[in-house]
């Protein structure tokens, strides 16, 4: 490698080389080009910044939060308005600092979103690729099941499930996961169908690759970029459903600082102490906006077909 | 006879992220009521030349010409409304693939009637009559039936005839045919061409025939422009093609196989960078 005639002058040139010397270089180069496209979209960068802040806040909640999220000052600090000394965003009816509750609540939000994504994306990918690649009755049965779940009202089904399982954040995650995987399966199937008959798949099969290997190594990677985009975009929806469950008292239970539940408890004071319900709503809005912006940016950078429009 | 179309130093370029792409770089020709072929490989600017005359250049493109005149009308300075009335009314265009260039949710008859009623103030009934006549003129045997069919219900050859009918129904004087037969089966190509040929001859229209197929163009047109990289490299009468001087033209001619001769290795088109200048 040392005597390559045109030695790379900079990392950037090396990444952008149109004659990569190795697979790693080719992959990194493509990732770099995607990043350049992503970074040229200011809104996407705003979204990325929001998500980074969210992760940092969740990681360092203990250090960042000025007060306890659960124990309040009932005597001296009930329902203080925002910008009160020591309480930037005010306090709620139990004298708890709203900012601290929001900071700790970010952990719950992040947990719910990540758990749901980790459960649903692989399930959807597996069902979709298997159905698309196998075809025939396997496809028929799997897609029938997917369609049945797809035809359900997501939120109402999640409600019924939580009602049966009992309220709580774990059950909320299960309920959301059960209702969220079908779109991924549909999408993965469509992508699989598109590549199933392509010549490169035929070539791999000709070399004796087993169906499992074909699906795992050659079909699934083709579905990944659209799956990532879709999951990112869906995370905003997951946050909203989780918050909705919390609002109805079916998600995280008090005194846990879940943002949706915080809105529900602030609802009683909406006329006089507007901030109690407003602040957590802003938090939800900002975070799901962050996911939407990043998802949009990813779609434009990973899927040039759509970006060209 | 006064020429129908004057094109002098026509340039079309597209600003892109990686700089200005010059699709057409100074094309000049005049056209009477004759058949002019424009030949070139893809990317040579032949289609953009046709679209610039139609006024269908995408809005982000930059377009300039020393002269771009149709029947005494300066096309580049003409108000949009006038340009629009020319399109379909006096200058028409046949596109490549009827699968994509006909509106899939409108019946063929309605699409033909639409052209007519855009340019002439005729009643529904008359418009329908004339559309049926036009369908008959493109040698569709059962016009009344085809009138009510949707584009997906007809074959490619039939679709292209419908396309021709749609474009010629308002009686244009100039027709730009952009690869009108490339998407069709070989057997149908000749049929469609002969229909086009007869209509152009009968109505005394000018024709700009854009194609990548030199042989087709040479057998069909009176005169041929050979384009390469946005420029005209050779202009020659179709009958003189055998004496073409430019190496690119000779290369294109050379690429065509002839029956009864064994050609190994197959010739490869030679592209010299200095032709781009």
């Amino acid at each position: 490698m040392t005597d390559v005639p045109a030695a790379p002058r900079s990392t950037r040139a090396w990444l952008l080389s149109d004659r990569p010397q190795s697979r790693a270089q080719a992959r990194l180069g493509r990732a770099y080009i995607s990043w350049l496209r992503f970074a040229s979209n200011p809104l996407a960068l705003v979204g990325l910044a929001i998500l980074l802040v969210l992760v940092l806040v969740a990681a360092f909640a203990n250090i960042l939060a000025p007060h306890s999220p659960t124990a309040g000052d009932l005597a001296g600090a009930q329902l203080l308005p925002p910008l009160s000394p020591g309480y930037l965003l005010g306090t709620d009816d139990q004298g708890r600092d709203i900012l601290s509750r929001l900071i700790h609540g970010s952990r719950l939000t992040l947990t719910v979103v990540l758990l749901v994504a980790v459960i649903t994306a692989p399930v959807g990918l597996l069902v979709g690729t298997v159905a698309g690649y196998a075809g025939g009755w396997v496809d028929g049965v799997l897609m029938r099941i997917t369609d049945i779940f797809l035809a359900f009202p997501k939120l109402v089904l999640a409600l019924a499930l939580v009602a049966a399982l009992g309220p709580g954040i774990e059950n909320a995650v299960i309920a959301i996961a059960v209702t969220s995987w079908p779109p991924y399966a549909r999408m993965a199937r469509a992508e699989t169908m598109a590549v199933r008959h392509s010549d490169y798949i035929a070539a791999v099969r000709l070399m004796g690759a087993s169906p499992v290997r074909v699906v795992l190594r050659h079909v699934m990677p083709m579905c990944l970029s659209s799956l990532i985009v879709r999951v990112t975009l869906d995370m905003a929806g997951i946050i909203l459903i989780a918050a909705g469950l919390g609002f109805l008292g079916l998600g995280a239970q008090p005194p846990s600082p879940e943002w949706g539940a915080m809105i529900a408890s602030g609802r009683r004071f909406i006329l006089d102490q507007w901030w109690v319900a407003t602040m957590p709503g802003m938090a939800i809005l900002i975070v799901s906006l962050g996911f939407n912006l990043v998802g949009d940016g990813l779609r434009d950078s990973l899927d040039p077909r759509e970006a060209g429009q | 006879m006064r020429p129908l179309l004057h094109v002098d130093d026509l340039k079309v370029s597209f600003p892109t992220r990686s700089g200005l792409v010059e699709a057409v770089r100074g094309v000049s020709f005049t056209l009477g009521r004759e058949r002019l072929g424009i030949v070139g490989e893809s990317g040579s600017g032949k289609s953009q030349t046709g679209r610039a005359i139609m006024g269908l250049t995408p809005p982000q493109a930059r377009i300039s010409a020393a002269r771009l005149e149709f029947d005494g009308i300066d096309l580049l300075s003409a108000p949009p409304k006038l340009r629009r009335s020319l399109r379909g009314g006096r200058i028409a265009m046949v596109l490549q693939d009827p699968k994509y260039s006909l509106n899939p949710v409108m019946s063929i008859g309605r699409q033909i009637v639409e052209t007519l009623r855009t340019h002439e103030n005729v009643s529904r009934k008359v418009a329908r009559e004339r559309a049926l006549d036009m369908l008959a003129a493109v040698q569709i045997r059962d016009p009344a039936r085809v009138f009510d069919l949707y584009p997906h219900e007809v074959s490619g050859g039939m679709g292209q005839r419908a396309m021709i009918a749609m474009m010629l129904v308002a009686g244009p004087e100039l027709l730009i045919a952009d690869e009108p037969t490339s998407a069709l089966d070989v057997t149908v190509q000749l049929e469609v061409l002969s229909i086009l040929d007869r209509l152009v001859a009968d109505r005394g229209m000018g024709l700009v025939f854009v194609s990548h197929d030199l042989r087709l163009v040479s057998s069909f047109c009176d005169r041929v422009l050979v384009m390469y990289a946005g420029k005209v490299v050779e202009e020659i009468a179709a009958s003189e093609l055998g004496n073409a001087r430019h190496p690119y033209t000779r290369g294109l001619l050379n690429c065509m196989p002839t029956l009864g001769t064994n050609r190994h290795p197959l010739p490869v088109l030679d592209r010299q960078p200095e032709w781009r200048l």
Binding site: D147, I148, L240 | L86, L95, E114, M167
Partner: protein, 357 residues
């Protein structure tokens, strides 16, 4: 073997030919899809209601029910039968509209739902009307004026609509338009003054009031419905405008648009007739989906606005562990979803000549 696959792939790559199913087979397939989806819906609610809870009887009656009632219900629910027979009975009852009795209201769940469902339909329909009538023009304009300030504005309005919790926005809207400005009426769908004098016919109050010529009532009903409907309309608009923009961009890039320009048509006709008429085909599905989403979004919206519809009924039942009512409501909303899908499918077929058999 592989060479045939390759050549087949070349042909399969251009799916020009619409499969021309004989009509009868098409209808049968269609019916099959609807029936299996409906059975699937029942299977899931059956699973939630009978399998997940440790004791379904307690889930239905609540844990304060007397022992005799528990025994009777156990028999009535057929819990001593094998599970497949239980499901069979469940399906038969569901088809007969029998979802059991609500613990909370002591009425049959079905009659409760029949009473509250029109309120939800009225709200979701008005919301969809608002969302569609604003969303389609905005989406078309955004696509046509792509990259301009207007496009950005539509995009941002849409993004916020995708990101904001509906119940929270509802609370803020109430705070501003009801409490501070007093422009709208709250709570419920009709003022106390008219509640007993007004006798609805269809259950859609706005239509009923107008039909009967009760202008005062109509104004009052309108003041009640406009805020929640506008809220739902905003969400619907966010979705519809975004999809319209994307479909329109796709259509405007097609060759038939070039052909339409070559014919000399005006831009207005090309955009609003040719392109939109083609974009309308997938838009039907989007609007149907948006309507379905609003129906289920009613669960949260109705809670905020105390709107006496199916959503509020379900959440009230949830809080009282009234599983019969919750699952009955779920089945009704699910069935409505299936019905909407069916309708949009049929409409799709009539709009797109390529899918007509």
């Amino acid at each position: 073997m592989s060479s045939t696959t390759m050549s087949e792939s070349v042909r399969a790559g251009r799916p020009f030919h619409v499969r021309a199913w004989p009509v009868a087979i098409g209808v049968l397939r269609f019916a099959g899809v609807v029936i299996t989806t409906f059975l699937g819906l029942l299977a899931v609610t059956f699973f939630i209601g009978r399998v997940i809870p440790v004791d379904p009887v307690l889930a239905v009656l609540g844990d304060r029910a007397p022992a005799s009632a528990i025994e009777r219900t156990r028999e009535a629910m057929g819990l001593n039968l094998p599970i497949y027979q239980q499901f069979f009975i469940y399906v038969r009852q569901a088809l007969a509209g029998d979802f059991g009795t609500s613990v909370l209201t002591t009425h049959p769940v079905m009659s409760d739902i029949a009473r509250v469902f029109p309120a939800t339909i009225e709200l979701a329909t008005l919301g969809t009307l608002i969302g569609t009538s604003l969303g389609i023009p905005l989406g078309v304009l955004a696509a046509v004026k792509r990259g301009t300030l207007l496009d950005q504005l539509v995009r941002i309005i849409g993004l916020i609509g995708y990101s904001v919790p509906i119940f929270w926005l509802g609370l803020l809207a109430l705070l501003v338009f009801y409490a501070k400005l007093g422009w709208v009426a709250y709570p419920g769908r009709i003022g106390i003054a008219f509640e007993y004098s007004f006798t609805p016919i269809t259950g859609l109050y706005l239509i009923d009031a107008l039909w009967q010529g009760e202008w005062e009532v109509a104004v009052d009903v309108f003041r009640h419905i406009i805020l929640p409907a506008a809220l739902l309309g905003y969400f619907s608009m966010a979705y519809i405008s975004r999809m319209t923009r994307s479909f329109m961009l796709n259509e405007l890039g097609q060759e038939y648009i070039v052909a339409a320009r070559a014919k000399g048509l005006s831009e207005a006709r090309i955009i609003w007739f040719h392109a939109l008429r083609n974009a309308a085909v997938p838009l039907v599905t989007v609007i149907a989906l948006s309507y379905a989403t609003l129906l289920e979004g009613s669960v949260l919206t109705e809670t905020v606005f105390s709107w006496p519809g199916l959503g509020l009924y379900i959440t009230n039942s949830l809080q009282n562990a009234d599983m019969n009512a919750v699952l009955g409501g779920t089945i009704i909303i699910g069935s409505t979803f299936i019905g909407i899908n069916l309708l949009s499918d049929l409409l799709y077929r009539t709009l797109d000549p390529r899918t007509r058999a």
